[in-house]
């Protein structure tokens, strides 16, 4: 559980600090990994791990769907602005 917490906070730090939208998507993937690990670890001590396994199953599918949308948005942003740096994109918008 502590590893999962550390991975989630690492990913959140990566999301807030990254200067590249692709790195932001990768950081989100690391957050999803941490959440999956936390959900899985929550079911290890109990009688049945089926609830936690099903939650991890749903989390995997939801995380992959969100990432697919994120990658498509990143590619579209690159086509429109020619850069993946969020601050440069903000300047180009104005």
């Amino acid at each position: 559980m502590s590893t999962a917490t550390a991975i989630v906070f690492l990913g959140l730090g990566g999301i807030s600090a990254s200067k590249n939208l692709l790195k932001t998507v990768m950081s989100f993937q690391i957050v999803v990994f941490g959440v999956n690990l936390a959900l899985f670890a929550s079911g290890l001590g109990g009688q049945s791990g089926l609830v936690s396994d099903s939650l991890v199953f749903f989390s995997i599918v939801a995380g992959a769907s969100v990432e697919a949308v994120g990658i498509a948005i990143v590619v579209n942003v690159f086509r429109k602005y020619g850069t993946l740096n969020p601050s440069e994109i903000r300047k180009l918008r104005h």
Binding site: I7, L10, Q29, F40, L50, S54, F58, V61, A64, F78
Partner: protein, 160 residues
Amino acid sequence: MSNEVALLSSAALLGTAVTALYSKRVSISLIMLFYSSVILGVVFTFYGSALIGVLHIITFAGAVSVMLLTAVLMTGESNLSIGAGAAKASLIGAALVLATVASSLLFGGLPSNLGAQPTPSPLAVLQFIWLYRPWDLLIMLMIFASSMVVVVNLFSKEGR
């Protein structure tokens, strides 16, 4: 044995996550992300959820990694060079070790005394979801389908 594996896998997960986040090259980040997905899949398999482990590896190390690689190639963010000879050799060695461990755990089966509590059957998770959480399954299918519609819609705007 279980504690040592937990410690090793935690260290490997944290190391690959930190390297993926703080590496300058996007290609190195991509490779480390691939490694961390495989390690997490191996952890799930080791603790008795082979179905979740295989699904995790297929989804994140397979599909999402290929999508990210395609995005990197389309945006030209990296020249996909992974550095000098030593870095290449270490990455290839790590990949070989990971592939060996993953394949032996996934396809060789686990001894009964390893892991915390092996589930009776990998398909028990699917049976449980089908019997007790069918609405969640429907919602998940709707999320997946709508995300695919959004992705197709975003990519169909090319040239406009």
